[in-house]
Amino acid sequence: ELTNRFESIFKKIRGQGKISEENIAEAMRDVKRALLEADVNYKVVKKFTADVSAKALGADILSSITPGQQFVKVVYDELAALMGGNARAIRFHTNRLNIVVLAGLQGSGKTTTCAKLALHFRKQGHRPLLIACDTHRVAAIDQLDTLGKSLEIPVFSDRAKSPLEICREGLAFAQREGFSLAVIDTAGRLHIDADMMAELKALCAAAKPDETFFVADAMAGQDAVNVAKEFHKEIKLSGVILTKMDGDSRGGAALSILDVIGVPLQFIGVGEKPDGLELFYPERMASRILG
């Protein structure tokens, strides 16, 4: 793996005295390959390798007994710092209704994550309400209804209304009934679908959420960052949730998204069941991405 590769690169240049730019460049090419294989966006990879090359040249790699390990540490630390750099706690209030909206591409895991979030915050003492604002996908409301029933968490929906109407009425219901948290599910949509993005923008404007999460799939490829950018531009995201991290995808899209839109990655989805939600740890993600 990566550490061993770097050890062998640096071993053969030990005898030459000073580690040169070329040596760092060669090791950096291996980092580039690892990041691309992990699906980090190519533009982000280029910027990252340039930044880290400069840092590596400055670091005391030659004086280390194991320059390969030292090099990996520089790379790994930079990666973890990049991903954890925007970390902050979820901002919920204790004396009023808190509102969360989940948005993202089709199939990324929003509906399942809504149920997970509701369960997670109920365990912390919240009284959550799920609001089913996806009137677009076949049987979406059935899906959230079933999840809510299995967790004994109420679901607000209305098959006859528009997403915006359901959102407004659902939040009014939440206020009246004294819920402390409303988790709003939205339809999967393309960032290039003007009508659907306008619908989402109107929904978020009406809901005025405390947290707006972009739900992204851990197996997403090079285009993920472009999608996130567009959603961020339209509805101002406050955080990211990366799903299906129980798979064997390296999850490099997470690095690209965090680097480019600068909001924190708050949770990762680690299973299909409602308890499959974990907090995000940048160091663990860094070693996963580096492979």
């Binding site: 699906d39 089709q106 059935d142 997403a220 090079q222 299906k244 064997d248 390296r250």
Partner: protein, 277 residues
């Protein structure tokens, strides 16, 4: 400009960038650029336009294609649809049901995703929309048992095409892959030539993990075709190139939207045109 025709490193770097950004993958992209260089040298190509055309020809050549057969001598023709979570299996089945129905075939859909909330309801609505027959059991039932029931019902009712939906499953989940093996065993025992088609549905937004998905699903149950979905988005779906090249399995169909008509036959030439722009 250099010795290898009239193209310098910057030209090839820009091409490699475009391929990588399209999710073709570092290894496949590097290999394509190497093959392009020998095409250019061997054929004395001197203009960028001709170089692009040569690259497109290489790409299209790598993308094997056979569309689904129009005749189904064995009745029922059994199509098993598999893949990881959320890629578009159930929706693709709905679209296929629409297509076969429009061609005058008697279609049945088998709801062998007995796990996910709302999965049976979702497929039931697609069956209603496309006037397909529908077989299901209670939630949590053994999916192999649903597959068996669906096959028996298909034989009894003279169904032309039976399409079986399965639950999304990540390829590294051994117990779920074992469950899928069992479904296939039960299908084979019921009808030795079935499943006639095993479609692995892959999301166009997927990165290099698609190769792992294909490898594991193919190793465990044998895949006969890919369906690449969500090509109406901005992902170029370049993984299709790596998939075709590494597995020699054809891309059967592509999904280009959420509606019943949003399924197209895979055409390598227009696909490559869209890929490289």
């Amino acid at each position: 400009s250099g010795a290898s025709g009239s193209f310098d490193d910057r030209f090839y770097d820009a091409l490699e960038d475009a391929l990588i950004l399209a999710d073709i993958g570092l290894e496949t992209s590097t290999d394509l650029i190497a093959r392009l260089k020998s095409e250019i040298a061997g054929r004395g190509i001197t203009t960028p336009a001709a170089a692009y055309a040569a690259l497109k020809t290489l790409l299209a050549g790598d993308l094997a294609v056979t569309k689904l057969p129009d005749e189904f001598p064995p009745k029922p023709w059994v199509i098993l649809v598999v893949g990881v979570n959320g890629v578009g299996k159930t929706t693709t089945i709905g679209k296929l049901a629409g297509e076969f129905g429009a061609a005058g075939k008697k279609v049945m859909l088998g709801a062998a995703d007995t796990f996910r909330a709302g999965a049976v309801e979702q497929l039931k609505i697609w069956a209603q929309r496309t006037k397909a027959d529908f077989v299901f059991q209670q939630d949590g039932a053994d999916p192999a048992s649903v597959a068996f029931d669906a096959m028996e019902a298909s034989k009894a009712r003279g169904i032309d095409v039976l399409i079986l939906d399965t639950a999304g499953r990540l390829q590294n989940k051994t117990n779920l892959m074992n469950e899928l093996s069992k479904i296939v065993r039960v299908i084979k025992r019921n009808l030795p030539q079935a499943p006639n088609e095993v479609l692995l549905v892959v999301d166009a937004t997927t990165g290099q993990n698609a190769l792992n998905q294909a490898r594991v699903f193919n190793e465990i149950i044998g895949v006969t075709g890919f369906v690449i979905t969500k090509l109406d988005g901005t992902s170029k779906g370049g993984i299709a190139v790596a998939l075709s090249k590494n597995f020699g399995i054809p891309v059967r169909k592509i999904g280009v939207g959420e509606g019943v008509d949003d399924l197209q036959n895979f055409d390598p030439v227009s696909y490559v045109d869209a890929l490289l722009g």
